[in-house]
């Protein structure tokens, strides 16, 4: 989990890894600088789910999910992707979109749209999934659903997820490790329990986060 206050540089870090913004230095993947990789090679390794996805044209759900296989169609003219259809079907099934496969993207709710793009990333079948505030703008039901889908995706060995989250409760519930950032710097990294200590959170957020969380949770204990 990638956590920190607004302006800490979480989304900037995500976009840098996704090669969306210029940077100095290098980002290494298994000792290889990812800047030297072709975009399609990078996409086969790293999949990114953005915070907000808006579709302006009436593509079908299946068409959008199918685009996730783009990086696997090698060559200028070949377009051959043996596993493609199977991966798309699997992605649609995992995200519960099989019945919506022919629906227009313009008719979907925010939660359904986010599920489609999650299915697209699943179809892309990367080794690492980068999520930029995946539960943002979603109601509680969809938040739970998205994270349980990601947990399910992680079942397969050799996969990892890096997720930006504002909600520290979600981070503690679903994350195993964390990076805590502030002002573009890494303040702490390691297992969740080692990173999200009261002192670290006090330093980064400038408040007693544990007290705040207890106060919030106590609202539910009264019910």
């Amino acid at each position: 989990m990638l956590a920190g206050p607004n302006g800490a540089g979480k989304s900037t870090l995500i976009e840098t890894i996704a090669q969306g913004i210029p940077y100095t230095g290098s980002i290494l993947w298994q000792d290889q600088d990812i800047h030297t990789l072709k975009p399609s090679q990078l996409a086969r390794m790293i999949g990114v789910l953005s915070q907000r996805n808006n579709v302006s044209y009436a593509y079908s759900v299946e068409e959008v999910v199918g685009l996730g296989r783009y990086a696997h169609r090698a060559g200028l003219f070949s377009g051959k992707d043996d596993e493609g259809k199977g991966q798309v079907e699997k992605a649609l099934e995992m995200t519960g979109l099989t019945d919506l496969r022919h629906a227009s993207m313009l008719t979907l709710s925010g939660g359904e749209t986010q599920r489609v793009f999650l299915a697209q990333v699943f179809a892309q079948n990367p080794q690492v999934l980068i999520l930029d505030e995946p539960a943002n703008h979603l109601d509680l039901k969809y938040q739970q659903h998205i994270f349980s889908l990601i947990r399910q995706w992680l079942q397969e060995p050799g996969r990892a997820v890096l997720s930006v989250v504002h909600d520290l409760s979600l981070a503690r519930k679903y994350g195993t490790h964390a990076i805590l950032m502030d002002h573009g710097k890494c303040i702490s990294q390691g297992e969740i329990s080692e990173v999200m200590t009261p002192d670290n959170l006090q330093q980064v957020y400038g408040m007693d986060v544990y007290e705040w969380m207890r106060e919030m949770l106590s609202q539910w204990q009264e019910c």
Binding site: G20, P39, E63, Y70, A71, D99, A103
Partner: protein
């Protein structure tokens, strides 16, 4: 349980292609038949068929009108209509903007300026009567593209869609002012220049047909090849990058391809507006936004629309010929409002 939000989408099957080809053929023949001199369907078909197979053409058939006046014009109109329409479809996908067309980047205006300078100064190539305007149109089209991309890159270092559109619109307005100046001072050519800014296929010949055909085949093939990338861009540039599209390279290739095709069209027929803006929308309503279907559908619909517009331009106030851009603008503006209304209705 089946979700009721299933997309009704016409399938673009081989039969659809066949039907569209037949519709296009009949529209072409109709446009050859109708004019200040009426020619029968059978005479038209006989003249063209015999000319193709180098057979003698009966004396009673107005072969000069069919083969040297109307046929090259109809062929140019078909090719230009198809070209402008697929350029519009590609730009709307690439820039993710339903108001984009081949002239959004200012390339169309740049090409128009080049051709007008050639007309105003009398610049020609020996043995190539229209070569001067075509060469200058293409040079200015390329120059405009390089200038706009350079300015866009200087703005935000990334060739972003927003800055390309912004610079393109400003550039178009600037060039329009220069064109108005040229028309004001080139008094000898005022009428032909003014007519040309509104589009005209009058006097086109087979050399121009061949060049337009070659440009459409080459550039059309490139755009068709990049259909998956155009789909990715249409969904979102960030998303395109995340799924593995080489965004900068593909954007450059598509922009250059559109510029070449627009440059050739503008050099032959002047500025024909609204075709590239409207016809992709109509095609999208029929076959959906997937560029694998949208580009062929735009090609056919653009060709048929421009044929009918040219027919109207030639015949509505015959013997006076209207500039074709006037017809496409009048029809296009009304069509655009209807499309906009229908799209809003669907989304709500």
């Amino acid at each position: 349980m089946q979700d009721k939000r299933q997309l009704k989408r016409e399938q673009f099957t081989p039969v659809t292609y066949l039907l569209l080809t037949v519709a296009l053929f009949f529209t072409m023949v109709l446009c050859i038949c109708i004019g200040s001199v009426r020619i029968s369907f059978s005479d038209t078909v006989t003249a063209v068929w015999n000319a193709v197979w180098k057979l003698p053409i009966p004396e009673n058939i107005a072969k000069n009108i069919i083969l040297n006046v109307r046929l090259p014009r109809v062929l140019c109109v078909v090719l230009a209509g198809g070209a402008l329409s697929i350029c519009g479809a590609a730009m709307q996908g690439l820039l993710r903007n339903p108001l984009a067309d081949g002239s959004t980047m200012g390339v169309s205006s740049g090409a128009a300026l080049g051709a007008m300078i050639a007309i105003a100064t009398g610049f020609t190539l020996p043995g190539f009567s229209f070569g001067g305007s075509m060469i200058l149109a293409m040079v200015f089209a390329f120059g405009s593209l390089i200038l706009i991309l350079s300015l866009s890159y200087a703005l935000d270092r990334s060739l972003s869609t927003g800055s390309i559109i912004l610079i393109g619109v400003i550039f178009t307005m600037f060039i329009s002012a220069i064109i108005s100046l040229i028309i004001t001072f080139a008094s000898d050519h005022t009428r032909s220049l003014s007519f040309w800014t509104m589009g005209s296929f009058s006097g086109v010949n087979y050399d121009q047909v061949k060049i337009l055909c070659a440009a459409l085949v080459l550039c059309g093939a490139i755009l068709f090849r990049f259909s998956p990338e155009l789909n990715a861009f249409a969904i979102g540039e960030d998303n395109a990058r995340h799924i593995g599209v080489n965004v900068k390279r593909v954007k450059l290739i598509i922009l250059i391809t559109v510029s070449v095709l627009i440059g050739v069209c503008v050099s032959i027929a002047g500025t024909v507006s609204f075709v590239g803006l409207i016809m992709p929308h109509i095609a999208r309503m029929l076959v959906g936004p997937n560029h694998k279907r949208l580009l062929p559908a735009s090609l056919f619909s653009g060709a048929i629309f421009l044929l009918l517009a040219d027919l109207a331009a030639r015949t509505l106030l015959s013997p006076v010929e209207l500039p074709i851009g006037v017809v496409t603008s009048l029809v296009g503006a009304v069509a655009f409002v209807i499309i906009f209304y229908k799209t809003r209705k669907v989304r709500s």
